[in-house]
Symmetry: C2
Subunit: 434 residues, 2 copies
C-alpha cells in the first residue's frame, strides 16, 4: 500500500521555521487534498531544546543533533531555514547524499554554492527548491523557470531588499537623512544592528545572482555582480531626482544584449511613471522584460515569517507532488548557456551626475566640453549656487553613455581644479533599446 | 528509442496562432534544451488555405479540415486559438476524446464549459492548460495553483480587461468623456467595433470566474459573478474620485470571508496609494491577498500577439515536460471545495454616491438621516451647487455598508421628492478587515 504521509525534518526553528510549522499545521487538510499525502514534521533541529516556544505539539520532536534528521531513513524531505553558509551547506549536502529532497530559504548559500548543491541533487535524483530565497512572498523563481519558459528574457530589475527600500522610501517621503532613517529602521526591526549586508547591497546582489542564473540560464556568480550600496545617498540626491522626475531606488539590474550580460546592484534613478518607482516600504518587486511578453512585474512582501514560510511550503508541495508522480530531481533547469559578461564599454546607461564647481565664468562650458570629448551628451542640466558665493552646483542627466566613458569622466573631473567635488553619480533607468 | 519530437496541431492561425508559430520557430533550440524534445507544428487549421500570410515555411501544413488534426494519431497536442464557444468546444472535446493534450487561450470556453472540459481531460489522462485565457502575458494561473498552494487566498482583485482600462486611464489623464475615448480606442484597435463584451464587463467577468475557481478551489460559474460595466462612468465621477483620493478602475473582485464567496466586476474607486491605481493603459494586473503571504500583485500585458502566444507556449512546454515524465493529466487541481455564495447582506463595501437634490434647507440632513436609518455611516461628504441655483450635488463616501442596505437606500432615494437623480454609485476599495 502506498504511504499516506511524507516525513519531514526541519533544520532551524527561528522565525521562518516557526512559520513553516504554523502553515503546515493550519493547512494540513488543504495540503492533503492537493498532494494526496499528509505532511508530518518528524523532527526539528534547534540550538536549545529547552527554550520555551509559543508553538505547542512539537514537544519530543526537538533535537540538537543534526544526525537525528540527516540519518533518519524515514525522513524524505529536509527543510533548511537556518541561513548562512555553515553549517547549512554541510547539512544540505549531507541530506542530498542520503537521497533526501531539500527545500531551502537560504539565498547566501544558493548564490555562493548553488551550482555545487544542484549538481549533487542531480546525481542523487533529488529535488532542491529555493523559492523563498528571493523576494520571500513573490513566486518569482517559478515564474522565471516555468511562466517564461518559452520567452527570451532580456532584462530583469528588482527591488529585492526590503531594508534599503524602506530607508529610501522614508527619505523620499519625509525628506529625511539616511543616518536618521537607518536608526529608525533599526529601532523598528527593519534593519539589523549591523546593517552592512543590506545597505551596501550585498544581500540584493545575492538575489540578483540567483535571478540572473535562472532567467538567463547562465551560471552567474556573486562576483559577477557590480555592487554599490545606499550609504552614500543623500537627501539632496533624492530631492534633485524628484525635481527631474525620478525616484531613487536600490535597483538590481540584470540585462542581456545579444548574449552579453551585465548584472549590478546600485542606487538608480527610476522615472516616476515606471511601476517600480511606486514600490515603497519593505515591499519587493521584480520587473521582467521578455522579448515576447514585454513588460511584467511581480510585487509582494520580500520577507517576514509567513510570506517566506509560504514560499517554503509551496516548494514542499511541489516536492511532495513530484514524489507522488515519481519525478523528483527532474524538474530543474540547470544553466546550459555559456556565460559571456559585458565589459564596461558595453554597459550603456543614462547617468545622473551632481558636482560642485568653482563659480567662475566658463565653468559650465568646460564641464560640458569635457563630457562631449568623452562621447557623453546631456539630456538635462541644472546649475545653481552652492552654499556660498564661490561655488556652484551642476546637476546633469546624460543620454546613454558607457560605464567606461563615465568612469573616465569621473576620474578626470576629480583632477580638475575647477571641480570641488563629485557629489554623486547614479545610473538612470530608461533610454536603452529593448 | 524514445521519440525526439512531439507533434502539434494548431487550431486557428490568427493573431495568437501566428505568435505561437513565431515563438516556436524562434526558440526551437531553447525549447529542445528545456524539454529534451523538439516541437513540430504538423498541421494548422485555417478558414482559407489560400489567404496570403507573412509567415513562411508553413506551406503544405495548412488545412481547412479539422479531422486532419483531430484524427491524426501522430499529433499528440492540440493548441486551440480560434476563440469562442463553437466550434472550439467540439474540437477540444474531440481532441481529448482521442487522448490528445490541449492548450487553449479561450477564456469564454473555460469560463462557461471549463468543468466539462477538465472532467473529460481527467477521464482521458490528458493535460488541459489555459494560462493565456486570463491576463495574457501574466503567469497568474500558475501562481495561483502552484505559488500559493500552501496559502489560503482570501481576496483577488484584477484589472483584467485592457480595453476598459485604456478607456478609464485616458478619461482620468485627459478629463475626457467616455464616448470620445471609446471612439479613439476603436480607431486605435484597442476596442472592437462592437465593444459590448469589454465595456459592459462580460469579458472581465469570465476571467474572474476562472481566477475565483482556481484561487478558491471552488467551482465558480459565470452567472455567480455580479457584473456592471463602465459605459455609465462619467468624467465628473472620475474628477470627484480624484478629488477624494481615488482612481476609477473596472475592477474584478473575488473575496471570501470564512467560506462565503462573492465575485463581481464593477467600476470601483481605488485609493491612489494602492498598487492597482497606477496600472494604466492596456496593462493588466492581478492583486492577490493570501492569509500568510499578505499582499502581492502581478502586472503585465493583458493581450497582444506575443504576450498571449508566450503564455500558450509556456503551457506547451509544461505539456511536453509532463509527457516526457509520463505524468500528463495528473497536474491539475480540480475544485474540491463546496461553493457557498454570499447573499447581498454579507457583501460589505464602502460606497461612493453622487446625487442631485433640490437645493432647500434641510436636504442634507434628510439624506444623511435616511442613510443613518439604513445603518450607513459616512466617511466624507461634499455638497455643492449643481448647474443651476435650484439644485445641489451631494457626493458621499460611506463607511462599510452591505450591498442590500445600499440597494435599499438607492431604491428609496429614487422615490424621494427632494432627490432629482442618483447620478452614480460605485464600490470603494478599502476599509474591510483582511
Amino acid at each position: 500500500m502506498e504511504k499516506q504521509t511524507i516525513k519531514l525534518g526541519l533544520l532551524g526553528f527561528g522565525t521562518v521555521g516557526t512559520g513553516v510549522v504554523r502553515i503546515i499545521q493550519a493547512h494540513q487538510e488543504d495540503l492533503q487534498k492537493q498532494t494526496g499525502l499528509g505532511i508530518e514534521i518528524t523532527k526539528i533541529l534547534v540550538q536549545d531544546a529547552e527554550k520555551s516556544r509559543n508553538i505547542v505539539a512539537m514537544e519530543g520532536k526537538l533535537t540538537t543533533n543534526p544526525a537525528d534528521i540527516l540519518e533518519d531513513p524515514e525522513i524524505e524531505v529536509v527543510v533548511e531555514v537556518i541561513g548562512g553558509i555553515h553549517p547549512a551547506k554541510d547539512f544540505i549536502l549531507g541530506a542530498l547524499e542520503r537521497g533526501k529532497h531539500v527545500v531551502t530559504a537560504n539565498k547566501d548559500l544558493m548564490a555562493l554554492h548553488g551550482a555545487e548543491i544542484l549538481k549533487k541533487a542531480q546525481e542523487k535524483g533529488c529535488d532542491v527548491f529555493y523559492e523563498a530565497s528571493v523576494a520571500g512572498g513573490i513566486p518569482i523563481l517559478r515564474a522565471l523557470v516555468e511562466g517564461f519558459s518559452s520567452d527570451r528574457i532580456t532584462k530583469m530589475m528588482g527591488i529585492v531588499n526590503g531594508t534599503t527600500n524602506y530607508i529610501l522610501s522614508k527619505m523620499s517621503q519625509e525628506g529625511a537623512e539616511y543616518a536618521d532613517v537607518l536608526k529608525e529602521a533599526q529601532a523598528l526591526g527593519y534593519a539589523e544592528a549591523n546593517p552592512t549586508s543590506d545597505v551596501e547591497g550585498y544581500d540584493a546582489a545575492r538575489k540578483m545572482a540567483i535571478l540572473a542564473t535562472l532567467g538567463f540560464r547562465v551560471p552567474m556568480k556573486l562576483e559577477d555582480v557590480d555592487v554599490k550600496g545606499i550609504s552614500g545617498v543623500s537627501k539632496e540626491d533624492i530631492a534633485y531626482g524628484k525635481q527631474l522626475g525620478y525616484e531613487v531606488k536600490l535597483l538590481g539590474l540584470a540585462r542581456r544584449d545579444a548574449e552579453a550580460i551585465e548584472v549590478s546592484v546600485q542606487p538608480t534613478m527610476i522615472p516616476k511613471s515606471h511601476p517600480l518607482a511606486s514600490v515603497n516600504g519593505v515591499f519587493n518587486a521584480v520587473y521582467v522584460h521578455g522579448e515576447a511578453v514585454g513588460e511584467t512585474m511581480f510585487y509582494g512582501p520580500g520577507a517576514g515569517e509567513l510570506p517566506t514560510a509560504t514560499a517554503v511550503v509551496s516548494d514542499l508541495v511541489t516536492v511532495v507532488k513530484n514524489r507522488k508522480l515519481g519525478v523528483n530531481g527532474r524538474g530543474m533547469v540547470a544553466p546550459y548557456k555559456e556565460k559571456i559578461l559585458k565589459d564596461d564599454s558595453q554597459k550603456l546607461s543614462k547617468y545622473f551626475l551632481r558636482i560642485v564647481v568653482a563659480d567662475k565664468r566658463g565653468v559650465l562650458a568646460q564641464i560640458t566640453q569635457l563630457l562631449a570629448d568623452k562621447n557623453i551628451s546631456l539630456e538635462q542640466v541644472i546649475q545653481q549656487p552652492y552654499n556660498n558665493d564661490k561655488e556652484a552646483e551642476i546637476i546633469m542627466i546624460t543620454h546613454l553613455s558607457s560605464k567606461s566613458d563615465m568612469d573616465g569622466v569621473l576620474a578626470y573631473m576629480e583632477q580638475m581644479d575647477i571641480v570641488t567635488k563629485v557629489k554623486s553619480c547614479y545610473r538612470v533607468e530608461g533610454g536603452e533599446q529593448k
